[in-house]
Symmetry: D2
Subunit: 117 residues, 4 copies
Amino acid sequence: MSMSEPAPASTTGDTVAADEGMHAHHGYIADKTAYLKRLKRIEGQARGLQNMVDDEKYCIDILTQISAMTSALESVALGLLNDHLNHCVVEAVAEGGPVAEQKLKEATDAIARLVRS
Amino acid sequence: MSMSEPAPASTTGDTVAADEGMHAHHGYIADKTAYLKRLKRIEGQARGLQNMVDDEKYCIDILTQISAMTSALESVALGLLNDHLNHCVVEAVAEGGPVAEQKLKEATDAIARLVRS
Amino acid sequence: MSMSEPAPASTTGDTVAADEGMHAHHGYIADKTAYLKRLKRIEGQARGLQNMVDDEKYCIDILTQISAMTSALESVALGLLNDHLNHCVVEAVAEGGPVAEQKLKEATDAIARLVRS
Amino acid sequence: MSMSEPAPASTTGDTVAADEGMHAHHGYIADKTAYLKRLKRIEGQARGLQNMVDDEKYCIDILTQISAMTSALESVALGLLNDHLNHCVVEAVAEGGPVAEQKLKEATDAIARLVRS
């Protein structure tokens, strides 16, 4: 979703809750279809790993698959983080105040988890 | 599982085992059922991520899930590597010669990929 | 240190400040003394590693030291990144325009390098 | 190579053997001079980082340096691990018994720390 798209019902405000209903879309994801496709492929890799283990394929080949899957996951995470910084964080910073600080703290905590995982 | 154990029935229904000879199954996996269960859970996490993206859940929560999934994958990889070292590599070393060297080279290359992925 | 603070005297004795104009010091570092102390300790660890290798200490102990040092470095990086996001990026976002975009792009690229290194 | 073995002298051509007693050299390091050179460079990078922080260089440039240093450290760790597997672990496995198991356990624990750090 691009920033010019109809309102992702401001992350702030906040009468948002009332009309957001059960899904509370945050609207920060640049290209949802592309992410879903990548995650679908990752799900397929997880299934493929089960077959490899079940068939007792050569361990090194399984490890290679796991490394590929981990890289694919990291790449999705970095893309989402980029979208998040460009959307939610930019918006919060523009408004300023404690929300901005909190968003930045959240983001750096998430980055720390990614770096360490 | 040692190499002399009976080959596990393949759940993929193929008949590869019949002509694969003595190396059909590598038999190094200590507890196949446990690995399959963990990988099944990882597959479920991949599906959960798709739902989160589809519902545009809060980015930070998605990133937290990805970190958890990456850690779970790494943990599986480390377990398999341990089984591999204790089984295939130990066996190859016992036999000695170029096969042992090749197995160790393969293992350290796989470790490098894990460390860097 | 905020940007309005007087520029710290350079310990390297160079006279760069004089001609660097207003951007001489980026001034985003929250607690320079603390970072310098941590980096000094990391330098000491690097020297300690040389002694361990020179004395041919047990490999596993050397690897443990390297892991500790890598974690210490990552921790410094995450701290600096946090300072950077809270200072330079927030400032650029407040100004808006292409500079903000560029700063965010730079930051996410740096995060990607950290995650993958 | 066990501690009671004659000196490795081999790779470095030195005559370390004579005083090995007190330092318990493990002699598994394939090319000590090369490792020392790499660690010296890493120590220099740690010093360079202090200068960068002291001069308040641009944060992104500091982060790039830290990523490079982390990669260099990981590379040293992977080299040492390789030497260790090819030397100490192979030897322990050849002897068999509980020592072999313990060495492999130690090695996989060290690998886990590297993957997670």
